[in-house]
Symmetry: C2
Subunit: 332 residues, 2 copies
């Protein structure tokens, strides 16, 4: 399939390779879908939200209740991810993976609460092994539901005050990159706040001794990160296209790739976050992101704004004329 896809790309009315990364994307998506005429059906972004016990230690500039307030903002359509999903006709669903708030029913909200926030990892692992497995399995079933409704391209976003700390610890544990290079300013620490955050995370990295990728996920947690990880694994199993967003989403991906290395084949890395560790994360797995817009918002916003580029790649493959069709002379 790769060879005939490449041939189709090469006969389009343009110099060889002149569409650069759009050609790589077209080749990748055609290969995933095993067709010369790939389609993107029901593009969907799941935004997983959860609270973090570690916020008690002041690792974030924003108070914990901002997690549920932002979930309400998503449900009311006022957040950045709403704006970008509307712009690109991407379906958006918000998942309560473990927010410390009781939500009323809402058509855009999926109730999947594992707990009311994780444990404070200063004292104990963020979640039990059971909770972690439950989060992963729930994530899987959410993706499967989207797949059953025809979705073949899915993005993963998140909201959780304190979750850059979890992501940094997961990154450090899986990559052995020093904590100070895994920690960024999160939602906006100054130098002093950053120093304090690094100190706390260095202590935590010494305190716990998780045994493998799943244990790392359970220890440093984030119900939303664990659920996202399960959701990614199922997307690969179903042969979907995965849109990987920024720092937190990629930390979930780091766990997923330990479990299923072939997940790379189905994944598109949408942007490089401005959050410090993200570039090293991407380098670690050999991923090359599409966009570098200096963004560090999460919510899946990087995936959403990269979507039209991905659509452009299959549009040129499906719609452009070949040299022969257009009667254009090819080079010798």
């Amino acid at each position: 399939m790769i060879e005939i896809l490449q041939k189709k790309i090469d006969t389009k009315t343009k110099p060889l390779g002149a569409l650069g990364r759009l050609e790589e994307l077209a080749l990748k998506i055609g290969t995933i879908q095993n067709t010369l005429e790939p389609k993107l059906v029901n593009p969907t972004i799941l935004v997983f939200a959860g609270d973090h016990g570690l916020t008690e230690e002041g690792v974030s500039l924003y108070p914990r209740e901002v997690t549920f307030q932002m979930v309400m903002n998503f449900l009311n359509g006022g957040a950045a991810i709403n704006v970008f999903c509307r712009q690109h006709d991407i379906r958006l669903k918000v998942v309560d993976a473990g927010v410390d708030h009781d939500f009323a029913d809402h058509p855009g909200l999926i109730h999947a609460k594992i707990g009311r926030g994780t444990q404070n990892i200063m004292n104990r692992p963020a979640m039990s092994a059971d909770e972690c497995n439950k989060a992963i399995e729930t994530g899987r079933s959410l993706t499967e539901k989207e797949y059953d409704q025809g979705c073949n391209i899915i993005g993963f976003g998140e909201m959780g005050i304190g979750n850059t700390s979890s992501a940094s610890l997961i990154m450090h544990s899986l990559t052995r990159i020093p904590i100070r290079d895994c920690v960024g300013k999160g939602t906006g620490h100054d130098e002093e706040g950053l120093k304090k955050k690094i100190g706390i995370l260095e202590a935590l990295a010494k305190k716990h001794k998780p045994s493998d990728a799943i244990d790392i996920l359970a220890t440093y947690g984030g119900f939303e990160i664990a659920m996202m990880c399960g959701s990614m694994l199922a997307a690969r199993e179903k042969g979907m296209i995965l849109l990987i967003d920024g720092f937190i989403a990629t930390s979930a991906f780091l766990v997923a790739i330990e479990i299923d290395p072939k997940i790379m084949d189905n994944s598109i890395f949408c942007h490089i976050s401005d959050e410090k560790g993200h570039r090293s994360m991407l380098q670690h797995i050999g991923a090359d992101a599409l966009l570098d817009m200096g963004m560090r918002l999460g919510e899946g916003t990087g995936a959403a704004i990269a979507y039209p580029l991905i659509k452009s790649s299959i549009n040129f493959l499906n719609e452009m004329a070949s040299f022969q069709e257009a009667g254009v002379t090819d080079k010798d």
Copy 2:
């Protein structure tokens, strides 16, 4: 206006600066339009096509007739720029600035032929001063026509076998960057072809002694480049947003900025072309492009695929809730 725009951006439900370059774009566009609620109306890309006398010397891998064949491809909707303009509801118009072919009337084609290709600059300047002025004035009037129809954001694309040579010579003359760093593989030269091209252009850079920016434009030409330059100048005069594409379009911009340095204020640099000199060109004028997709196709394709990012910037400004509206606690 800048201060109140920045304040509007900063009160949106996101950490300060978390939308990165989208925030810069929102600020820029709001400033250009002098409003807190900017709009993009009738986005349009003009693709200017012209032939080049220098193709007689074998500077391009493709024969000269590919220029008119590609114009036909544009008119039939089969080229990359058609695909991307359709995707993003961008109006596309093709301008015969000087193709060596007689085109029949077509609703998508603007007849504005200055001549049937430029002179071979091995022998004499590409065009006379009169032809150059006529091309610039025609470009101006084409933009004004779009403006009169409500368009407030305009991109500039081009098609012209041999025009990377013109662009390289214009770049060299205006920036004094050595020819070898201004010359790339164009539509696909190998190392030997590239060496030959550099040799020819180095000889040409010594042969002619143009006196100023307009004379440089006339000497090294490209009817399509001169017309694009005029079109850019009028867009700035009308207060429109200019979408600057790749290597050739930026060579026209290099001339335009000599005439009107304030044109920078209205211009968005859409992508870095894979054509070698483009990065240095952008550095020379202090421009920071949005996308780096390894593309080198021309036609305005970089401007077209960057358009949704630009739209995202004003969408978040217009549609996102503020902390107060959403009832989200801001940081202290």
